[in-house]
Symmetry: C2
Subunit: 313 residues, 2 copies
């Protein structure tokens, strides 16, 4: 019988790590820097060494460790193939197999946003649900889809890539991906600043100043009733609400869960998105639950642990 599991969330700056009991209790968490030198070739070695040292420090019995679940910042297929992780410098690699070789432990991986969604489903805002769409509103827009408790990996590892939902017909500025009108251009922190900047340059009155503008400042101003900020909030909410109405006719989840920095603005965000979701949703999927994420930046390590416990239960 196994007693422990490791959850690992690999980011561009740090690798977050957690040691969990096999019932999902987070016993300890720590992080190590992400060494991106030489195309990130040391990253998996560093993770293996950190886990090895934790095993020794705690005096854990290796046969009692169920495995390591790992979120990675790029597309990951369900057989563990990573196409490319731009943020880590990686090309195509099977990081699961590599880390398994290095540690002698079972390893299962997934895209970081998908793994975070699994974490929220398990012990966060999604507890009690089986099928959710999680939307992470940060510098970009990430997403993860869980159906019947399982991650939708996608055939190219791109399940839940919601940031690149084709969201507008008339956008003239390109998204970072090269397309025009991606959801990320409206619903990310960067997108919110872009929208506000556009209105300010048109001479719209506001307490906001274009220099040093942040999404937080826009949402704070909206809470104070600033009309330009409210207009940005509305544009943001309409694009995101409509994209989720689209998501609902594809997979019809029980709930939408909002994470990431932008969602810290709280109910002003979810209320606006929900208003437009209800406007655009097909009648049979109206009324789907909206929830704010609860695990913050720990969602990834929880999800990692669940990847292993899920495949063993």
């Amino acid at each position: 019988m196994t007693e422990y599991v490791f959850g690992v969330d690999v980011g561009g700056t740090t690798v977050k790590m957690g040691l969990f009991s096999n019932e999902g209790e987070l016993l300890e968490k720590w992080e190590i820097p992400t060494d991106k030198r030489e195309k990130g070739k040391n990253i998996l070695n560093d993770i293996a060494a950190s886990i090895e040292s934790k095993i020794n420090e705690k005096g854990l019995d290796r046969s009692g460790i169920a495995g390591i679940g790992m979120g990675l910042p790029g597309p990951v297929t369900d057989d563990g193939i990573v196409r490319r992780c731009v943020n880590l410098g990686w090309g195509e690699i099977n990081a699961e197999k590599e880390l398994s070789k290095l540690t002698g432990l079972t390893v299962k991986s997934g895209n970081d946003a998908n793994v975070a969604a699994l974490g929220e489903l398990w012990q966060g805002a999604g507890a009690g649900y089986k099928s959710i769409i999680m939307i992470t509103l940060g510098t970009g827009v990430g997403g993860g889809i869980i159906i019947d408790g399982k991650i939708v990996y996608g055939s190219h590892g791109s399940g839940g890539e919601i940031g690149h939902f084709p969201s507008a017909d008339d956008e003239t500025e390109p998204c970072g991906c090269g397309n025009f009108g991606c959801l990320e251009q409206y619903a990310s922190a960067t997108g919110v600043v872009r929208l506000a900047g556009g209105l300010l340059r048109k001479g719209r009155k506001s307490v906001l100043k274009e220099e040093g503008l942040t999404a937080k400042a826009v949402f704070d101003a909206a809470k104070e009733g600033d009309e330009t900020a409210l207009e940005v909030l509305d544009m943001f909410g309409e694009r995101l609400g409509k994209a989720l109405a689209a998501g609902a006719i594809f997979v019809d989840p029980q709930a939408f869960i909002f994470g990431g920095g932008v969602s810290n603005a709280g109910s002003i965000v979810t209320d606006t998105v929900k208003k437009y979701y209800e406007k655009y949703a097909f009648h049979s999927v109206k009324g789907t639950d909206f929830r704010l994420a609860r695990l913050g930046s720990d969602a990834g390590i929880y999800g990692g642990a669940m990847l292993i416990l899920g495949i063993n239960t």
Copy 2:
């Protein structure tokens, strides 16, 4: 050991039925009329009687029958709850349980478009794939999503309701569902006729006449190079291609499969849709396979059989 399975596809006019071997060979198919009188209360009785009579006619051993898989024209959840089938006159009902009581056999049901997708996956254009989106282009636009060989039912039974994808920001005519700009308004047979009618009323030159216009006539004219018909084909293809690009960032299937009357126009349809899919798709999901459905109106009974054989394997 079981030897046989029944597949049933309940439509608004007829109920199609098939007797299959447990290896999926269609041994015999037939149909009975759909009795919609008195809110469709006789439909399940009629199906049970027809199956009973087939069992007797063939002298089948009841213990050798794995069950009955059934597609229904409305939202169906994975526990068999039908919210409403407008075409049958049904309100909320558990048709699975009812038919199981009437026949003494295991019954599993699903939405007809979802079940047809499962049929195509199993023995049609989807053979060899595990994850597909099937699009049925008929009077309306239906859809079914299969991930890892399983139907995405959706929490309200509305998984794959692609016809109501919010497809345009600027539509002024309402869809039958009450929303504006649903995919069905552009990509169904009705939608194609509507688009062509709009151009003809603007005085556009064409061999097409508005009276008695059909989608087939529009696609035939497009094949002959009629400019107005080509413009309609282009509008149709752009809306559908963009909707599938959206579907790809949600579930990232291995293939899109096109069924229904409109798809009989053949490669002119899929080529145009693919052109716009490739334009709007996120880079990681470009190149997804496009296939024409192969089972025609038998897809539903094949999928019904698969519902049963799938849950027993």
